[in-house]
Point group: C2
Chain length 203, copies 2
DNA sequence: TTGACAATCGGACAATTGTCCGCTAATATT
DNA sequence: AATATTAGCGGACAATTGTCCGATTGTCAA
């Protein structure tokens, strides 16, 4: 057995990369770990890294894919449970889950956003699965609200995009840290100023 | 006289850098010009570049500083003219100016946002003058609306931040290009879905 | 088991950003 | 006008991202 590691099958390597990444990230922080560093630590060439993950954002996205799926199921389940409730209630529940997720995965999420948003080598974040899911879900809720007159006839597609934009990871962290809002205050303000006004008061 | 350029005073050099930048940007596009390239073309060392402009975003910000000032004056003037109008009208006027500005300076603005938002070497965009001005202005308008009961008692500071976030350059360009909204449609939708709902109907 | 072929690895390389320090040029002092 | 002093210039350098192609390894056929 040489000190040169044997070639494993693709799956093994992917797993190795992700494990190494997770370990290095938690040890040194997401921002202080380079792709080469990960490659070296995982005994993988740089070409291999980049063939699998076009950039750090993609790598983070992959690292979080389980979390994203869990979030999506959580959202769908929550919406199903609240099926009988007004759309407003469901929308607020949806955003609460989204914000809790942001809160929990702050660092990784902000990194994902940075690298994917600011790199031209990858599909923009708007075309990634997590964004598309969230947008579609919000849009559906809005369309239902418009249909049932719980909301004025607005452009559901457009509104869904702007709602998500108003709570992107950067602004969320800014509000939380530099501006001193607590996680709870953010949720409350989102409910009050972004969501409530979209719906018509039922007397 | 040697082929080594003589040292000019600081002002001259700044002007030279900015002129060169403008020329190269318009010739090759903002994204295809590197800081070193600019430094070389302007006959300036890299150290000099970076001492003056911490990164490309800062450079762009400087390039656009005149435009920003013009925009701010335009906004203040417009708000003064509409002083007698309801806050809603003034807010809509403000956003119209903001969106027109975004439309006009798309490329530079997106670059500014990218570099400033994704670089840790600089103050975040939220601490830059143009952002602060816009936020303060929106916040004041909201506070006035709350005072005069044109709006429910919401958190003006928070709302101003999220309003700006919902119309950041990235999302604007995405809506305009990938999503096929016209500049006019964006303005209309912003009025209808972001601004209108904040205000209370006066009968 | 062996040889050929294809998949894919991985290090060298180019490009870009940002830093550092020796040296030059502008100013002040006499 | 000559020299000392200091601001600040600018090229060499380090770090990081992303690319490319020669080399290696696994697989399949005979």
């Amino acid at each position: 057995m040489s000190d040169q590691p044997q070639r494993r099958d693709a799956n093994e390597i992917s797993k190795s990369i992700l494990q190494t990444t997770e370990s290095l990230f938690s040890q040194y922080g997401v921002g202080n770990v380079s792709m080469h560093q990960i490659a070296k630590a995982a005994n993988v060439g740089q070409g291999t890294m980049y063939r699998r993950y076009a950039n750090k954002g993609d790598l983070c996205l992959e690292l979080m894919s389980e979390n994203f799926h869990a979030l999506q199921e959580h959202m769908l389940q929550s919406l199903a449970e609240l099926k009988a409730e007004p759309v407003k209630v469901r929308m607020q529940a949806l955003f609460k889950l989204h914000l809790k997720f942001l809160e929990k995965h702050t660092q990784l999420f902000e990194t994902i956003h940075s690298y994917i948003t600011c790199t031209n080598t990858t599909k923009p974040f708007y075309e990634k699965a997590p964004y598309i899911f969230l947008h579609q879900t919000i849009r559906s809720l809005l369309e239902e609200a418009i249909e049932s007159k719980e909301s004025r006839p607005i452009n559901a597609d457009f509104t869904a995009h702007t709602l998500i934009a108003s709570m992107n990871p950067k602004i969320y962290n800014f509000l939380r840290q530099k501006n001193g809002y607590s996680a709870k205050e953010v949720i409350e303000n989102v409910n009050k100023t972004l969501l409530e006004p979209l719906f018509i008061e039922k007397k």
